[in-house]
Symmetry: none
Subunit: 208 residues, 4 copies
Amino acid sequence: MGHSILKSDKKKNSDKHRRIIEAALKVFAKKGFYNSKVSEIARAANVADGTIYLYFQNKDDILISLFEEEMGNILDKMHQALQTVTDPAAKLERFADQHLTMLEENQELAEIIQVELRQSSKFMKEYQNDRFHQYLNIISGIIKEGQQMGVFRKDILPGVAKRAFFGALDEMSRYWILSPVKKYSTAVAAQQISAFFIKGMLVDPQTA
Amino acid sequence: MGHSILKSDKKKNSDKHRRIIEAALKVFAKKGFYNSKVSEIARAANVADGTIYLYFQNKDDILISLFEEEMGNILDKMHQALQTVTDPAAKLERFADQHLTMLEENQELAEIIQVELRQSSKFMKEYQNDRFHQYLNIISGIIKEGQQMGVFRKDILPGVAKRAFFGALDEMSRYWILSPVKKYSTAVAAQQISAFFIKGMLVDPQTA
Amino acid sequence: MGHSILKSDKKKNSDKHRRIIEAALKVFAKKGFYNSKVSEIARAANVADGTIYLYFQNKDDILISLFEEEMGNILDKMHQALQTVTDPAAKLERFADQHLTMLEENQELAEIIQVELRQSSKFMKEYQNDRFHQYLNIISGIIKEGQQMGVFRKDILPGVAKRAFFGALDEMSRYWILSPVKKYSTAVAAQQISAFFIKGMLVDPQTA
Amino acid sequence: MGHSILKSDKKKNSDKHRRIIEAALKVFAKKGFYNSKVSEIARAANVADGTIYLYFQNKDDILISLFEEEMGNILDKMHQALQTVTDPAAKLERFADQHLTMLEENQELAEIIQVELRQSSKFMKEYQNDRFHQYLNIISGIIKEGQQMGVFRKDILPGVAKRAFFGALDEMSRYWILSPVKKYSTAVAAQQISAFFIKGMLVDPQTA
DNA sequence: CATGAATGAGCTTTCATTCAT
DNA sequence: AATGAATGAAAGCTCATTCAT
């Protein structure tokens, strides 16, 4: 919190901020945060090493900023994608599909989120990850909505279910990131995973 | 792969190997792999810095060995826990409960597996994680068994379901590792998560 | 030597030169030469970083120019202060009083002269400090005058005495610069120190 | 304060600590603290760069340690030199002679004390220079002794006189450090300077 | 004249690894 | 087998200086 705030005004007059973020995306994804050198990012961004520090406080700040910005985009896109859907079950399936598609289209970002930021104790412990919680809460929102509409069972804990659902998707994407060949299409995986949860949460037919 | 093979014989004559692994467990869990110093591990294990290199090839090898050994234990315990259960649905619930309980009882190990070992693309890409795949395959084994017994639907892809199920549990444990207070008990979370999947995979009553 | 010569004409058309010198005075006094940043001076002077280089060749030149100009002022004031005094002994006491008073009134300048300019072998060796020698020579001038008038002993080496006298005053002012509380007033210290030297240099009464 | 305390035990088994101090003496004297590189000191000491940090906390600590140790030696030698003298006036002359001789024989140390440590605001403000105060207090001790014996006037403030005397000697040595040729011998300068102060402080003959 | 974004050389410090004892 | 002092490559970051605007 508070990272890059003073310096972010500079974004307006220059694309360097963006160039650096995008360079960092590539470099971090390829080598991992700790094995990436600031000078590599600088070279990839076509700026001098020192220029990095005009736009970011330090190496950590590059990663945090990268995450904040990209996660902001992802949140926006997800909200847009869900706008046209009303049925909670359909929303969950849409979420799954959008999530996996998005990560598939942004392999590098997916990798960074997976292995560098979400996993790193350094960042996870020190950095209160609001954007990520907002993302998870989209899921619990859908579930609560479904419960109110009488579609999903009332005994489901949305706080558990949101994590379970996200985790299921996440593990799937981790698999894809790390394995060169995909056995299943994004659509099939999204459909299967959301189906587990939808069926698993539906009000029992006989009870209804 | 190939790590510590020559040197692992030394285990027999000495507890230093074990002392180092256990020291590393504590240190890596607390500080993270890249922020842990070999000398810290040495101090925690009560050996000289150089001694580490009599038992491990390098710092990476400590982490890999740690993971291999601990994962071996986990696999053994899981097999044992499942031995007494026969019903596939019950097995899944047992798996979930055992998984979360185990991680709860080994917070440090849980943290390392979560944030350190999976973290780095370095490790995930270079190191073929057999033990982890064996662990995942326990899940798909149960699912396939359920399908053969006609309990679970045939259209379920075990390769997707195993990851989804593991991911759901994993995200739950990540939450617990990183958050100081737990809102849900291990048992409740295990029950809910397995219930989603069981219900989600069951053969439809009317179809049956 | 040769610093700022071409650029010093600019003084006439602008107060920026003066603003920068005065800003540097504050900044160097507070942080020391090596720990002061050119950008800090620029900010304090309310000019852009680059503007500094329109008026000074480089960071060193700021310090040298500052010293030259301020030392010029000090020389002028000292000559003025001594104009009304004729007796060599009284002149020495006046010198001491004026010296300590001046430094007391210009703490920042005093500090820079003390700790920054004299400090660095870099400056002391490379920069022939004419103004400083002129200042010292005021003292030896008084002593020689006293010797010619038969007031001070002929065996006194003016070259040694000037340094001794200046050093005595200088150490006193160093003490004041570095210690937060003053035990002795400027006047008392000036009187005591000049008394040592006057008594110490006077022609022996019986010999006279 | 507290510098190098933990690490100083290592001195016992190795001359590296001493080698580094002596290398730093040369390098700092030649280039000044801020213009000296740690790697230069390492090279001059014939150790690896990293070895420096086994014996010193950081670059600052090298300078402080150097000063503490050398100043300790100087204090010892001065106490020894004064042991055989009883008359306060003779003691002052002895002090002056010993001081100038010592600095003459240790030009490099003299230069560092003069221009790096005593003058540097960084060190003078942050570092309570006990050894230096002990040194000054040798002078005031002699003066007080002389006052009690009725040799020096009671109105002399020892706190002023010690600084004046030290300052006089110090300025003399600064001159020698910075100027290539010496016009006056150490002995002559010592004699003249101490004579000023002795005569200046003596009880007036007629008053006595 | 004035600006301030950009540069990149250069420095301190760290720490995995080695090897003489 | 065990030690731990020594190594030295490597990297993050700073800041005096420049130059296009």
